[in-house]
């Protein structure tokens, strides 16, 4: 039976169903139930669509003993590298096709509405590539460090791992996160509005360790980081920051970096624009001036209403958003709800988060969940009794520098509507009487 099931599961659901036709009726029922969870979503959505799913599922409720309790499950190393339950198949990164010309220079958004805690699973971390995701053989990959240094070197990935390692939990946010909303409310989804932020535990070598080992010449003031992708992505970073808390990371949440996150190595520049965290890092050059690369002149500069632009706006200012409820996670009925969300600041720790249910007229202090760490996502929550009336939910973060997250109106007044980047204003969710949640903007 086990052997048979395994073979069947590899077949397309339709074939599996036909095969089940040949089983004795008791066996067949068991097979179908088993199929529901072993072959998972594919069967539910596909071949079993004809059978009312509720009727099938109902047979697992008390007083019925569920079928998975009365059979054996899959053995160890059925998935040598574990994958999520097929019932979680909708929890995926998604893109907005109309945003970019193609998927090679594009963005995908993390499904924040489904994520718990503060760590983003490696397979769901948002992606931003400028020339696609390269496939790099770590045996052949090298990191060159040169320029105003005493001892220019080339490091293999093995060399790099011999240095003392550090681990730190940091968020990475694309400065264009929410950038589609400067002029008005467009997208009705937490994932697409705020999903260009993710958070992981990064492990690697402190850049200061590497730079001190090659010896920085006194004239050295800037660092250029360059990727090995088809965009040969580059950003200039002042040495002061480079020597502070930047790391050359080779691991993410305990395993090697994912390819989408820069495998085999990337820069992690805590609290700064995602674009500075150069992925697929191949070169670090020390110089005495910035290089004024395309990604720090044409892009990642903020155009103000008067036509002037601000450059080198590296820090991601404090931001927060309610993740539950949200357009994807409406309220199901009146009564007690846990309002939950995420807050972060590129300048340090989150000090407090306030929540309003009346569009910012009155605020209540939310609870911060441990751990609260510098330049990391922080989760907050507030218990709320919903009486079923329409409401306007907002969250507002205060970071350890005392900075208070601005309203959209305040931000627009100073920055206009053309700056694309750094839109860290308060998000408003309109809760309708039926519990549905809509992205709105207040004047």
């Amino acid at each position: 039976m086990l052997g048979k099931l395994r073979r069947l599961n590899r077949d397309v659901p339709k074939v599996a169903l036909e095969e089940s036709e040949r089983l004795p009726s008791a066996e067949r029922r068991r097979f179908l139930r088993n199929g529901l969870f072993t072959a998972g979503g594919a069967m539910v959505g596909g071949a079993l669509a004809g059978i009312a799913p509720r009727a099938l599922a109902a047979t697992q409720y008390p007083p019925e003993i569920p079928s998975w309790t009365r059979t054996l499950g899959a053995g160890v190393v059925t998935d040598p590298y574990g994958v999520p339950s097929p019932f979680e198949k909708e929890v995926i990164r998604r893109n907005v096709p109309w945003l970019t010309a193609d998927k090679v220079s594009s963005i995908s958004f993390a499904p924040l509405q489904h994520l718990k805690g503060i760590i983003t699973p490696n397979g769901l971390f948002f992606e931003r590539h400028h020339a696609g995701r390269p496939e790099i053989d770590p045996q052949l990959h090298r990191l060159m460090i040169h320029g105003l240094v005493e001892r220019p070197i080339i490091l293999s990935m093995e060399d790099l791992q011999r240095f003392p390692s550090v681990s730190q939990i940091n968020f990475i946010e694309c400065p264009a996160n929410g950038g589609m909303e400067w002029r008005g409310a467009q997208l009705n989804s937490l994932q697409f509005l705020h999903g260009m932020v993710s958070c992981a535990e990064w492990t690697g070598v402190r850049l200061s360790t590497l730079l001190q080992d090659v010896g920085i010449k006194p004239e050295g003031k800037w660092l250029l980081a360059e990727g090995a992708d088809g965009a040969a992505m580059t950003r200039s970073i002042p040495l002061e920051k480079a020597l502070d808390d930047v790391i050359v990371a080779y691991a993410q949440n305990g395993e090697a970096l994912r390819r989408e996150q820069g495998y085999p190595i990337r820069l992690v520049v805590p609290g700064w624009e995602g674009n500075t965290h150069v992925k697929w890092l191949r070169r670090l050059e020390v110089g005495d001036k910035p290089w004024m690369q395309r990604e720090e002149t044409s892009k990642y500069t903020d155009l103000m209403a008067d036509g002037t632009a601000h450059g080198f706006t590296w820090v991601m200012e404090a931001k927060s958003v309610i993740t539950s409820p949200c357009p994807e996670m409406p309220l199901r009925g009146k009564g007690i709800h846990q309002i939950e969300g995420l807050a972060w600041s590129g300048r340090g720790k989150v000090k407090a988060v306030d929540v309003s249910v009346d569009g910012g007229q009155n605020w209540q202090k939310a609870q911060l969940r441990e751990p609260v760490m510098s330049k990391s996502l922080t989760r907050f929550s507030l218990e709320w009794k919903w009486n079923g009336n329409p409401a306007l939910l907002q969250s507002r973060v205060i970071d350890e520098t005392g900075y208070v997250q601005p309203t959209l109106a305040q931000l627009r007044q100073v920055r206009g509507t053309n700056s694309i980047y750094h839109k860290n204003s308060i998000q408003t969710w309109q809760v309708n009487a039926d519990g549905s949640v809509v992205n709105v903007q207040l004047s």
Partner: protein, 225 residues
């Protein structure tokens, strides 16, 4: 470190506490060459990988290219995406135009209207274009393309020849349009808790705009425009 014996874990803690205090090698990590890992990079290796160009011309190689030469290369390798006049095809970026639009409602940020330095153009075309075949052009071709794109933006005349002497001297129209000192925080809200504003008005809603791809089911390829 995993240990099946609880007591040995305890031992390790006490032992290392003492060891650390008496071992001097941790401090010397500050000195150059302490680890000395990796191989030294030769001049030839550095020259091959060091492709960045600075506004002062540092990094520009030998070679040259004229506007005329650039036109031919551009038609072959660039026009399909960026348009013959740099007007941009579909959603591919515009490379020309947009003068005087930066303070308008719909600004057009192009090489001519926005870019502060001509060196960046050489650097970027060389490292990243043409999109499907980056780093496939010769230095002369990149010089020629740089000259041509500058000419499309009326920044240089038709007889301009780009090389490592002429390019750093090109003044871009928006050179002074940038502030390179981050002025933020420029907006700082007040942390008011009670009766913070009189009236709350919803000015815009995403509902019914039909711009949001589906966040359930498989990837939504639907809304492309």
């Amino acid at each position: 470190m995993f240990s099946f014996h609880k007591s040995s874990g305890l031992f390790a803690t006490t032992c290392c506490g003492i060891l650390l205090a008496s071992m001097p090698f941790v401090a010397s990590a500050e000195q150059a060459g302490h680890y000395g890992y990796g191989e030294s990079a030769t001049d030839e290796q550095i020259a091959a990988w060091d492709i960045d160009i600075r506004p002062d011309g540092m990094g520009l190689p030998e070679g040259s290219g004229s506007v005329d030469e650039g036109m031919a290369v551009y038609e072959t390798h660039c026009a399909s995406c960026h348009g013959s006049f740099g007007e941009g095809m579909g959603r591919y970026p515009k490379l020309a135009g947009g003068e005087g639009s930066l303070d308008q409602d719909r600004p057009e940020k192009t090489v001519g209207s926005y870019w502060p330095y001509a060196s960046t153009l050489w650097d970027y075309i060389h490292r990243a274009m043409p999109f499907f075949a980056p780093q496939s052009l010769s230095d002369d071709q990149v010089y020629a393309l740089t000259a041509y794109v500058l000419n499309l933006n009326y920044i240089v005349d038709g007889d301009f020849v780009a090389n490592k002497e002429t390019l750093p001297k090109v003044e871009m129209p928006n050179q002074d349009g940038f502030i390179w000192d981050d002025p933020r925080p420029v907006v700082n809200n007040e942390r008011c808790m009670k009766d913070c504003k009189g009236e709350v008005t919803v000015s815009d809603s995403a509902e019914g705009k039909n711009l949001t791809p589906s966040t359930t089911g498989p990837l939504d390829e639907g809304i492309t425009e």
